[in-house]
Amino acid sequence: MSLLELQHVHKRYADDAGERTILRGVSLQAGKGELVVVWGLRRSGRSTLLRVAAGIEPADAGTVRFDGRDLAASGERLLGEGIGYCQKTLRFADGHTALDHAMVGLLSRWVAPAKARVRALGALERAGAAHCARMTRRELSAAEAMRVSLARTLALHPRLVVVDEPVKGVELSERDPILGLLRTLADEGVTVLASTGESTGLSQADRGLVLGDGELRGAPPRELAPVLPLRRLRREASG
């Protein structure tokens, strides 16, 4: 069974310019330990798709299930309790360190400060950001910020990590190690759903999908891939 399952999800936004459909009947499955990457152009709705998949935004229609549970019914309770979400930009208050940031999720769940500190340090190390523990936001490079963001998520031991554009703005030499980290997480059994605006982000994913014009295209999971007979040319079929 898929850990994450989106079925016929629709999402629309309305603004001054009118109503815009972002997702049109999108269906997606991701199994345990699978690294799925969604590629899309700017404004294709890839970030919206990830927020809906993480349960941060509700779908207008369709269902989103995590481990068989409907996110619409469970609300944001699953966020942080099985689902971890890393956003593009890392924000934390001035004067606070990366370690403080990595502890926030734990402290808000009433984990004792001393225990939270140990777990956060472990998560920073797992994310390759142990050296950043005492750094403030301004001192972090784009790659380090992504690692700290991942550490905050990993500190809560998620089974699904949803990460929006993990390599955006990351310099060339740091990009592949970030992708390698996501691959490692998946190999360790964590399901990873990532978005990317650059084809670089697809490297070594188990599955790549394209989001365009509100539709998600690409290969389905291997177990769900239908065996389609070869379609004959129209003339042959009618003749």
Binding site: V37, W39, L41, L172, S173, D176, P177, L179, G180, R183, E198, S199, T200, L202, S203, Q204, A205, D206, R207, G208, L209, V210, G212, D213, R217, G218, A219, R231, L233, R234
Partner: protein, 224 residues
């Protein structure tokens, strides 16, 4: 092809072939000097010229280096191809024999690039942009054959998109030891992969664009 595992008589055969192709190469070189030679299109010739520029050497060593450097990227049908290519390069005055290297009991004429060879090699590298354009145009023109078969066209576009995704996924992630600039072969490999990655992104973006445009086209068509 395993160059190191050749038969003993092969070296003699290759030397005979070498003499023949060098003579043929000289003849084409005369044409090059007159300016009526056809452009050199063989990627093997250009790749070999690159190896000579990198380090002057003799034919057999160049053949071995060729296999190590280009391997499956540019497979040789047989080792004799290198001798033929060397003859062509010599004939076109892109390489020249280093004086004094033909002497001795086992003469091994060494070759080095000429100033013209270095110049032409740079021009060929830059010209690859035009080659890409030609290949892309060929693809789009061939795709055009399906404009009256919209269903098939959509299926091909979807298949092409999936092939691009698969290509993007296949790209390896560089290990920490591969990213250092002091590791030249690894760096070359990374640069090659990087160009491929970026090309995949451009192709995926093109598919989105083409889909939109084809949708407009089908919208303007009158129903039959």
């Amino acid at each position: 092809m395993m160059i190191g595992a050749r038969q003993p008589n092969l070296a003699i055969n290759l030397r005979i072939r070498y003499a023949v192709v060098m003579k043929a190469g000289k003849a084409s070189g005369d044409a090059a000097e007159r300016g009526d030679a056809a452009p050199m299109r063989s990627p093997v010739n250009w790749a070999l010229l690159g190896l000579v520029i990198e380090r002057p050497s003799y034919a057999y060593d160049l053949a071995q280096r060729f296999e190590r450097r280009y391997g499956e990227t540019l497979p040789l049908s047989n080792v004799g191809h290198i001798y033929t290519a060397l003859g062509v390069l010599d004939g076109r005055a892109l390489v020249e024999e280093i004086p004094g290297t033909r002497e001795g009991r086992q003469p091994k004429p060494h070759y080095r690039a000429t100033a013209l060879g270095l110049k032409r090699y740079g021009e060929w590298l830059i010209g690859q942009v035009g080659e890409d354009r030609r290949r892309n145009q060929l693809f789009v023109l061939a795709l055009g054959a399906l404009t009256n078969e919209p269903e098939q066209l959509r299926a091909v576009m979807a298949g092409y998109e999936q092939a691009c995704l698969a290509e993007g996924i296949r790209t390896p992630i560089a290990g920490a030891q591969e990213t250092g600039v002091d590791n030249a072969p690894a760096l070359l490999g990374r640069l090659g992969e990087e160009e491929n990655r970026l090309a995949v992104g451009a192709k995926l973006a093109w598919v989105q664009y083409a889909r939109q445009e084809l949708k407009k086209l089908s919208g303007h068509r009158r129903p039959e």
